[in-house]
Symmetry: C2
Subunit: 326 residues, 2 copies
């Protein structure tokens, strides 16, 4: 029983009368009449962040993970509703530190808190549980969906892939990075950068887009499945930061290392599809939004995801996720 | 450090640029441009419901508690976003039972699920934590706020008070009720009835309204404080169900018993203010919505809440809440 099975089999039927819910397969819902794009993400201590992570950074990650969903849809954020369940033993200072992180990113992204609820667990250790519902306006070209890709479309991804997963490994001392790489990779783990400008610039150009949060391969699978196609991704085309490149170079098996990078989560990049005729426009959108974009593959007939080496042979990939990092 | 202090001192400043957030003192926010009223409520196992409560009833309580907020604002519900954090040991059947409760009330209240997030705790026992963000359209007369009451306004409350608290006492076998009373009171605990029709009928008549969820006295205090006034409530005017009346009659001290009733939470009735000139219109609204309404007091100069006996003397009241029920 996976999260996806539960959503598809048990919760999606509850949206039958709401076309803007997209059967719960998209990053966000569209309230057409109200001209709003809405997304909701949960974060739980011990699951989505380390229980000892500084709370201002946790607050910023909560904001940015949600903004990343809006970014992939091309939406312009307005504000959010916040739910916090604190451990009974929480100190006032911790809540203040958390709110400081919220305030900082509210200023950065020009958004506001609109409401919410705050309560306490019945136990001292009950894990800090955060829920945020973010809303924004869709682009005038219409919200970029997950399901609009066509056969033969190019696949692109913004930024670099695998950094947050390596950052977590660095924080857990599972691999020895240089000081510079460790700072940069752990920074990507703590503070993702939602690609709002790029997302807005892609409206009307991208045929489909998804926020990369479960891992590049997993999310490529979601986009491809929603569009009724197969994603073919070239391993050598995966954009890597300097830190990730050093890590790959230090591994015994280059292909296995690349397969791990694309299995990590928390990238918060935008994976999107666009027809080959749009290549020049995509370059323009990338430059205008000052966000790197890499062409990493295509959409073909079939289903699932193929991760290919230079000879075009499939590389075995698992969506290994954080817990199985080794 | 209370929930209210945290909200006022730490979170309310984060809404400075959002007038529709009402400094986080109202039941719901108003997104004026989008013509939406939005509310968010959390429910945590062991805090807001009993860990052994049937999950279809928990789902319905989550929906109804949120709808009660919209009802107090006169809003017409449209749908909601749902966040669920399940204990790691959850069985698929439990999730199915939960979703069945959602589906049942979606039909009853003509609302739909629009999106959300579902995840698992890292522990087997991590308490089931639910978050819902509900939205609806405000009445054309404008959303009924918490802060609009005037000096001399009458105070009214819908339905009966204290039943859910007594229902919890019945479920915990803390008092011996008749079978009929137990069924009816525990029913009020599990399945509150959001007063949506009354709330809509009060739009433009009530000067202020609040959903009674923290206890009548506590919520009267919130309404009065938001309006810059004092609430004076007559103990004998508190509407009681047959079960509550029997319980009061069985107590040694009548005034103390009444003081307990108004300290219980989870009533999900509407407490509202209206000028004496509106008395006839309030009766019409009550009849049109088939919802009992009782006039229980007035708003006077000052602050806080006075709970008065027949001679006009104040009765000591604590907002005792569930945990201190005895």
């Amino acid at each position: 029983m996976s999260e996806f099975d539960i959503i598809r089999d048990i919760f999606a039927p509850l949206t039958a009368s709401a076309p803007g819910a997209f059967d719960l397969i998209d990053d966000a819902a569209l309230l057409e009449q109200q001209n709003l794009v809405v997304t909701k993400d949960l974060m739980v201590a011990g699951v989505h962040f380390l229980p000892k992570d500084p709370l201002d950074l946790v607050a910023q990650k909560l904001i940015r993970a949600n903004l990343s969903d809006l970014a992939a849809k091309g939406a312009k954020p307005i504000g959010y509703f916040l739910g916090c369940v604190w451990p009974k033993a929480v100190a006032r200072d911790s809540i203040v530190q958390f709110a400081r992180g919220l305030g900082e990113d509210q200023g950065r992204y020009k958004i506001s808190l609109y409401g919410g609820d705050t309560t306490m667990h019945s136990t001292k250790t009950g894990p800090l549980t955060l829920s945020a519902t973010f809303f924004g306006t869709p682009p005038r070209q219409g919200m970029t969906s997950r399901s609009g890709a066509s056969l033969g479309d190019d696949l692109y991804v913004s930024g670099t892939i695998g950094d947050a997963g390596l950052g977590l490994a660095a924080l857990r001392k599972e691999f020895k990075f240089t000081t510079v790489d460790k700072a940069s990779l752990s920074g990507r783990y703590h503070l993702p950068e939602p690609r709002l400008s790029l997302g807005a610039a892609l409206a009307g150009l991208a045929t489909a887009a998804i926020d990369v949060s479960d891992g590049l391969i997993a999310d490529a699978g979601h986009l491809a499945h929603a569009s009724g196609l197969r994603a073919e991704i070239e391993a050598v085309a995966i954009p890597r930061s300097a830190g990730a490149a050093s890590w790959v170079a230090a591994q015994d098996h280059r292909w296995r290392a690349l397969a791990k990078l694309v299995g990590f989560g928390d990238d918060y990049e935008i994976l999107f599809a666009a027809p080959p005729s749009m290549r020049r426009s995509i370059t323009v959108a990338s430059k205008a939004s000052r966000t790197e974009v890499s062409r990493i593959g295509t959409l073909s007939r079939g289903d699932g995801v193929l991760f290919l080496d230079e000879a075009g042979n499939p590389i075995p990939v698992e969506n290994v996720g954080y817990d199985h990092f080794s």
